[in-house]
Amino acid sequence: MISFFLFIFSLILFSLFSYGFIDPNLIYFRNIFTNFAFQQRELTTFIYGALVLSLFISFYFIFKKPKFDFKNIRNLIILTTIILLFSYPATLSYDIFNYITTAKVTFHYQENPYIVFPIEFVNDPYILFTRAANKTALYGPFWILLSAVPHFAGLSNFVLTLFSFKAFIALFYIGTVYLLQKIDRNAVLFFALNPLVIIETLVSAHNDIVMIFFALLAFYFIKTKKLFSIFALIGSILIKVGTIFLVPVYLLTLLNKVKGEKVYIYATISMFFVFLLSPLREELYPWYAIWFLAFVSLIPGREKMKELLIFFSLGLMLRYIPYMWSGNYFGATPLVRNLLMVIPPILYLFSLWLKRIYRS
């Protein structure tokens, strides 16, 4: 129960801490702007590290000792969603501003976001804080279409739009958890409460969860509603192209060549492969781990592999530390970032090795 409370307490603190990252150009939050994260870099990094560790430790113990019945887990998921829904999203990534501005270009200005740059709207206040204002739409057409919902729900008010986007992403998180529970109830805990998943989805509001929701929907209905299932997979691919790597597994499952847990094993391998390829395009972003974590959770047993992935998730969340500390992406930052990423899983493997030696 201590881990349960530690988890919730860390979430509340993280939610409050996130407001220290308010962008100086975000005129809509001028009243609560403190410049904390950019002035107190060392302290910010320390708090971040402590909160992430606290979340992972409590999650690890919740995962290791699943005495809690499913109702308790469900309540914890709901509580997590509510707490993090009110956090400030541009803490670790500015992608939410790209989503909002792209939606504005499409639905407010009624321009093609694949042709017109946000920066072309010279006096638009959103350009002040949108990082990819000099790029055309970075996401698939289905995502742009879906983003109409939070855009119009925002009623042309920035703060309302920001939280509409967060709520929209949170709905897909709940939807994904619901699908996991429908496929295998035991899969829920590993995915839904993994600190990487909740921070990247409920705090940073990355649309990867939407892509994964449609991919899972495709697999869930693969036998019962084939046409719907195919459309769901196409929808997923048209959000972010990543799930195109699921097509071979999907076709093999559709043709009954692959069954049972093998479906999720192959899906995990496919998505992990894309994850590893991502540095070729840009870099290894922590939220890309959501792509394979969703499928890993559906593989029954394999506790050691899942524990290793929890440690890897921790390593991925530590990748933010060098930039948070130094404020630049160059110099030692790339090397330290990669070191921090691999240290936790290496330590875990080392502890397993020590245990084996001790037993023998």
């Binding site: 200005y109 321009e111 017109v116 072309e120 709207f121």
Partner: protein, 176 residues
Amino acid sequence: MKIGITLIYLFLLASLFLVTAKESFAVSSYVLPYPSVMPGNIFYKLNLIQDELLRFWYFGDFGKFHYNLKQSDKYLVEAKTLFEYKQYLLAHKALLKSDLYFKNLKPILTKAKEHGKDTSEKNVLLAFASEKHIEILTKLRIEVPQVFEWKPEGKKPKNLKLMESLGESIMIRESI
């Protein structure tokens, strides 16, 4: 005597300038595209179909602005290339097409402004484009004949008033 020699020197120097001087044009930093597929190429018709399809892709005020400017640039370059190869009929057609797209630009920006969009940067871009187009058209005016008689097979010959057309094209660009 000395004055006479100086005057002769000055006259010779001035003559040298007059002989070697070339007509100069205002040079704009605006960059035109490379020539694309030319009429007669099997892909030219496919290119025309692609252009028509792209018209729908370039929706919105700024989208339409980009589309029309791109097309106007493209056909101007096509006209220039064809004029250089003395393919006057085809060049004349391309020039008229370029004019047609260029004429659309100002009304599009007016509409964009009515829709509450800041068009100041687009107006600057249009001014640069116009300057570059005029630079090309002025050069062409020196190179092409005043009138070209086109004799299609089995039909009446037709006079293409090339100089007049180029003059009109320049006027269209100057009027923005």
